[in-house]
Symmetry: C2
Subunit: 454 residues, 2 copies
């Protein structure tokens, strides 16, 4: 049993205090999603490899295959593919592809537009590095409809995300929004018909800089003037609706461009009405990969930690979920919970005020008096106060130290009062007073562990 135990790179685990902090973050996320009427679902961890391949850009390089160990041994072969004639299975690498499959599979039983949230692990076999993990929790919201999807849902996504982030010790953050139709129409309007290649090159702007992008565009067939126009578009970034006049000032016109400008204008107007200034910005350099997005796209950075990558991204997709007869266009955004929490732990010292949910430790004066302490605990729990009973009838100093090491704020002493009643001690202040388990009010700020930052 004494096998060596070691962490596995890219599969982070948290100590209890950090996990309590992560759970707090997840509770904020869930409560906010539910306040906005998103219904929670879960999908299985595995999908047929065939379904995973070819979705989400180069995701095929990152898929974890799953196979029965016994099956693989019995077959005398490994199990990248499934065993026993079953379809080859892989762990999902995001929650969008499984959700699209879920919608197709259950379309007849769902009501549309369908608003759902989903908080689950995903797995990618890529090289672990700052902000990138092989196992990570994502928290997604999506709205899908049948046939067509109203554009106001595209305006809703960044508002929900901003509402979540405002409740967390994130500090300054920025939801950057663009609409794919804008560069698409713009490129067509200036005569660049290979939209995909142009987008792909401009997407590198942050990494390689303007000079390299200009060179690559020219290498791909653009004129110098066209390349300058592409760069001018990508440089537009405004905290309000003024991006549209700046785009129009570039003198390009195309129906796609106009459509994209209108939708993005509406998104920014909705943001102005519901979020603090500067939280949501129109940033025409956002491309959000090249996979299934067709309209509005989102990315979110924490100011000062842009190198960690986007902590909430997504966009509109029109053909991800489709069967022979029907398409289910949707829009969604996904919070990278693991990335966000790891960032907050590493850079903001995020932790919890205690390592246990217990607000009270009920002391035990002698082992034969344990039932009296259990009765106190039962009475406190019945009133919603988390507590535990001391593990041993040690001297009280040791029992208080037990509470202190865990950050439990109160120790309860059954029978300690002069009249034979109980007493409770706030071990932070040392204040001790008579109390009855049926009536004592735990201060609300002590009832649950609080988030703490450095």
């Amino acid at each position: 049993m004494a096998t060596k135990v070691t962490p596995i790179s890219g599969f982070p685990e948290l100590l209890p205090r950090e996990r309590i902090a992560e759970q707090h973050v997840l509770d904020v996320v869930r409560r906010t999603f539910e306040l906005h009427g998103y219904a929670g679902i879960e999908t299985r961890a595995v999908e047929p490899v065939e379904r995973l391949l070819g979705k989400g850009g180069d995701a095929d390089k990152e898929i974890y295959a799953v196979s029965r160990l016994a099956g693989a041994v019995a077959d005398g072969r490994g199990g990248g593919a499934g065993s026993g004639g079953e379809a080859a299975l892989g762990l999902h690498f995001d929650l969008t592809v499984p959700f699209a499959r879920y919608v197709l599979e259950n379309a007849g039983k769902l009501t549309f537009p369908f608003r759902r949230y989903q908080i689950q692990k995903s797995w990618r076999g890529e090289r672990p590095q700052e902000g990138r993990f092989r196992e990570f929790t994502q928290a997604d919201i999506d709205v899908v409809d049948v046939g067509s999807l109203a554009p106001h849902f595209e305006a809703e996504m960044p508002l929900v995300i901003a509402e979540v982030f405002e409740q967390l010790p994130v500090g300054d953050f920025r939801v950057r929004v663009n609409n794919r139709k804008i560069p698409q129409g713009f490129y067509l309007g200036i005569g660049l018909t290979d939209v995909v290649t142009t987008l792909r090159i401009v997407d590198k702007l942050d990494k390689v800089g303007a000079d390299a992008v200009r060179t690559m565009l020219v290498d791909a067939g653009a004129s110098g003037e066209q390349a300058e126009q592409c760069l001018a578009l990508a440089r537009i970034c405004t905290p309000d609706g003024t991006f549209a006049e700046r785009v129009r000032a570039l003198g390009v016109s195309h129906p796609h461009l106009e459509e994209g400008l209108q939708i993005l204008t509406d998104v920014m107007a909705a943001a102005a009405a519901a979020t603090a200034p500067g939280r949501v910005v129109a940033d025409l350099s956002v491309a959000r990969g090249l996979d299934y997005y067709t309209g509005t796209v989102y990315e979110t950075q924490v100011a000062g930690f842009e190198s960690w990558g986007s902590v909430a991204g997504g966009g509109r997709y029109d053909s991800l979920a489709a069967d022979d007869r029907t398409t289910y266009p949707g829009v969604g955004i996904s919070i990278g919970v693991t990335r966000l929490v790891q960032l907050l732990i590493a850079k903001r010292g995020l932790t919890a005020s205690r390592s246990t949910p217990a607000a009270v430790l009920v002391a035990v004066s002698a082992e034969e008096e344990r039932p009296a302490s259990l009765a106190v605990a039962t009475a406190l729990r019945a009133r919603g106060i988390p507590c535990e009973v001391a593990p041993a009838a040690d001297r009280f100093g040791k029992q208080i130290r037990y509470a202190d090491r865990r950050g439990i704020p109160y120790v309860w002493f059954p029978g300690a009062a002069e009249d034979g009643g109980d007493q409770v001690k706030d071990i932070r202040s040392g204040a001790q007073s008579d109390a009855r388990a049926e009536a004592w009010e735990c201060p609300p700020e002590d009832l649950r562990p609080a988030l703490v930052t450095a």
Copy 2:
């Protein structure tokens, strides 16, 4: 994109109403665990295959191996083993083996006795059947200490489980408790020294009956009288502490037997003080497999659905977590959440009162009036009332039907009152009255979806 979508056997997924019901169950589980001072942790989904093999009986037949698909292709081999020289990984098949590893890995950073809960998926590649799944959620509590573990923790486990189940529409259930030391001491006391074989045979009692067990025991070397004694012990099942005198009446004595009887007597005394009569029973036939348990063992059946198997089981283990210098004995119990929820869905018609968290649908009278409806929604949410805004400015009859199909109880009409204020309609009763978003009280029973059974 029109790939066929089909369920995967053994990987159940729930529709939104059922998932809301499952989430309610999980919330009850978590709240109860936290009231008892268990700290939540999560462990990664994968462990080295080497660590999984040989723990938990014949679990090796059931392990899902995980490997990078790209790595497997590049290697020209399948991936039962890991790729690129990394250790071979498998998905965990329970939460106890990963927890034991977590304790060893973090022993220096934890405070003992360590009370933890863990609610996560596990995976087993076994054949799916009634009550058995390949992917399933478990909810575990364990207490682990250093060197030795006080027996009162063995009494605590069934009380927490009973408290959870009493809050759910489970109906009649029974936590059956035994102590491994009792049959162990008893068998030694009557001269049967091959305890493991005897336990293994008697464990089949439920399945094959007394005659077959008697024959197998005799085949294994027991005398007819010894076999009868084993059966007599296994038949003892009492709802209180009277099992001990019935065991002693069999006239066998051994130190292990006495020790086991004392601990089980304490467990039953604690149960009598804290649970309804008959919820926790001493059942000396409970063996709970043959893996790592060394003391008290638990199983839980829902009355009438014993064929679904145990919905909460566990026990005490003394050497599961151990390194070269230290052992960390523990006791734990695990709720089979997926099995329980699937049973409740199939046999009790478990579902939720609505398919969305939204208690209110805010109607939209015209698309240009959407901002007014959004403002109402924002005001309701600020007061903790989940709501959504109608997706389209359809005629009100259609918007009410939208709410009705989802089970949303209230529809809000901005500006519908005679004085230009708002109105809210309870679409179940048809009652409509003036209301202000800043003041309207949502009846508490309507604030969240309720559990519904047939």
